[in-house]
């Protein structure tokens, strides 16, 4: 059983839903990321999505675009991100870490090379925004062999037939994108999400986590009612942006936001 499966099973037993924060690795500087990850876990994170910065983050709104820019300007590389995970794993063997990003840096490193290095570092899953299952045949088997789950996106525009196909390729969890748009935009329609997650439950036993548009305790709680987990990104990245000049204050700010969500979700 993968670390992600284990985590969902354990939460299920406790009657809890997964709280999954996203931060961009290396934002505002590579040296801070591991500290942020530990702070997120202490504040109630069940898993962490760690963003791999990319020069052209096409699916991201302004907040996360800027995070990618800060991170790259500070010299972050994919190798560096893997080192962060390895360092995090020195003291945490329990919290799954999913790398999230765009395909090109991974393709450039080489799929087999990446899979091997990610396994060694202690990465549990990979979510590449611009890699639909149709194009993933070269990479999924290599990841599987390395024990890394491939997380795919499902969107409001995904037809049921396509969702079934995607679900059949997915492992770890499915990431339901709650809105048409980029990260950090618009607000959430919980009713519409509920209908879609219900539909997905008919198709697959893989857990369904929901992201895009979750910004506070109330929205996190509402989403966790109708799914297996809430993914929260732009709100946290905004905190990092606001405190980029005083990074020592960032862990407490991240913890405060996440704590509120944890409390609301568990209530």
């Amino acid at each position: 059983m993968s670390r992600i499966e284990q985590k969902f099973a354990q939460l299920n037993e406790q009657g809890k839903k997964a709280l999954i924060p996203y931060i961009t690795g290396g934002d505002p500087e590579p040296g801070y990321t591991v500290g942020f990850m530990h702070a997120l876990v202490e504040a109630g994170a069940d898993m962490i999505e760690l963003g791999i910065p990319f020069s052209d983050p096409m699916a991201d709104g302004e907040v996360i675009q800027k995070a990618h820019e800060r991170s790259l300007a500070a010299g972050t590389t994919l190798e560096g991100i893997l080192e962060m995970v390895a360092e995090f794993r020195q003291t945490n063997q329990d919290t799954p870490v999913v790398l999230m990003g765009y395909l090109n840096p991974i393709e450039y490193m080489g799929y087999a090379n990446f899979a091997q290095k990610a396994k060694t570092a202690g990465v549990d899953g990979l979510l590449t925004v611009d890699l639909p299952p149709e194009e993933a045949d070269d990479v999924v088997p290599l990841l599987k062999e390395a024990g890394i789950d491939t997380i795919f996106l499902i969107a409001p525009t995904t037809t049921p037939a396509r969702a079934a196909k995607i679900a059949s390729h997915a492992s770890g969890y499915l990431y339901y994108v709650s809105i048409k748009g980029v990260t950090g935009s618009a607000t959430l329609d919980t009713q519409a999400v509920a209908e879609k997650t219900a539909e997905l439950r008919q198709l697959t036993s893989v857990p369904v986590a929901v992201g895009f548009g979750i910004r506070d305790g109330a929205s996190a709680a509402a989403i966790s009612q109708v799914s297996d987990g809430a993914i929260v990104g732009s709100v946290l990245v905004n905190k990092i942006a606001a405190l980029a000049q005083t990074p020592e204050q960032i862990p407490a700010a991240l913890a405060e936001t996440l704590n509120e969500m944890r409390t609301a979700m568990d209530a």
């Binding site: 590389t77 190798e79 395909l103 840096p105 490193m109 795919f152 969107a155 048409k180």
Partner: protein, 406 residues
Amino acid sequence: MTKANTYAELMQLPDDRGHFGPYGGRFVSETLSYALEELEATYKKLSADPDFQAEFDKDLAHYVGRPSPLYHAERWSRMLGGAQIYLKREDLNHTGAHKVNNTIGQALLAKYTGKPRVIAETGAGQHGVATATVAARLGLECEIYMGAEDVRRQALNVYRMKLLGAKVNAVESGSRTLKDAMNEAMRDWVTNVDSTFYIIGTVAGPHPYPQLVRDFNSVIGREAREQSLTQTGRLPDALVACVGGGSNAMGLFYPFLADEAVAMYGVEAAGDGLDSGRHAAPLCKGSPGVLHGNRTYLMQNHDGQIIETHSVSAGLDYPGVGPEHAYLKDAGRVNYVAAEDEEVLSAFRELTRVEGIMPALESSHALAYGRKLAQSMSPDQQIIINLSGRGDKDIHTVAGIDGITV
């Protein structure tokens, strides 16, 4: 299998998943998958529909002004003393470049799908103008994304788009050029996918765009092939076209792919020189990767990050290139070369003074290489250079280089 057969087979691509060998494909976020499947189905149906073809051809004839002439640049050819140079005059099209062939086609697709809004990215602004033009004609809402740096260099085209009723958004992220405009257009599309048709301006992007943009621009090569046969009694020895994303080049090359004796040259922007690091020549100097929905040659660093490009011409200032060009490079069918800013400006001036034709700086890349190529050939040989657009939009840039404010 004979070689001619192999060449003919090049015309069968892409495969049904939009792949040109290892290149192309559909690397997009899930929200767009449905829209692309829908577009693919619509295009498949309409491209086989004689009524759609007839409407397209009629627009090309009466609105764009096709066929565009194949002009024998006799004086220039004589002066150079080499092969006879023929210019395919896409600069004479309505709106001043080959870009309109594609926007006419995609606007018809937008009309058939009933979407009330179109968006586009643009570099030099020619594609933006061509999109704003067809949107005005069809009464569609139109929004254009353009890098802030290009808004500055191509002020004339920005104002043209505004006069045509389009909203022009200056994109401030990244290198503030064409690739960033494309990122922003993709973000708009993902947000407004139900109401919006994205008119991509070159043979890049996710499947089916590289195919349909090529098909719409192939009128260039079909005409040129026929004109060459009628006017000279034979096919040319070589074709030359500039390559940014690669739409004017694909449009010229495609109908000749099976003509084994016709050599082809795609000319990238060498900027300050291919060894200076300041250029926009992914086919000459890049390596394969994935950007903007397809796998192709890219300009990237050791970490797979896309790097900034440099070219005097905004329309070639792009770190990627259409996937079909990537395939044709590997297949050895097309030679990809590059021209430096300085020789490009000199070719711009030369054609203007010798033939009275002021070319776009993009097209001047093809002229700069074509000039050298012609000189290496004999007067009984002939080449076609694609004059993809006219130079009006670049007068500010050239004047600026001359130290003159106009």
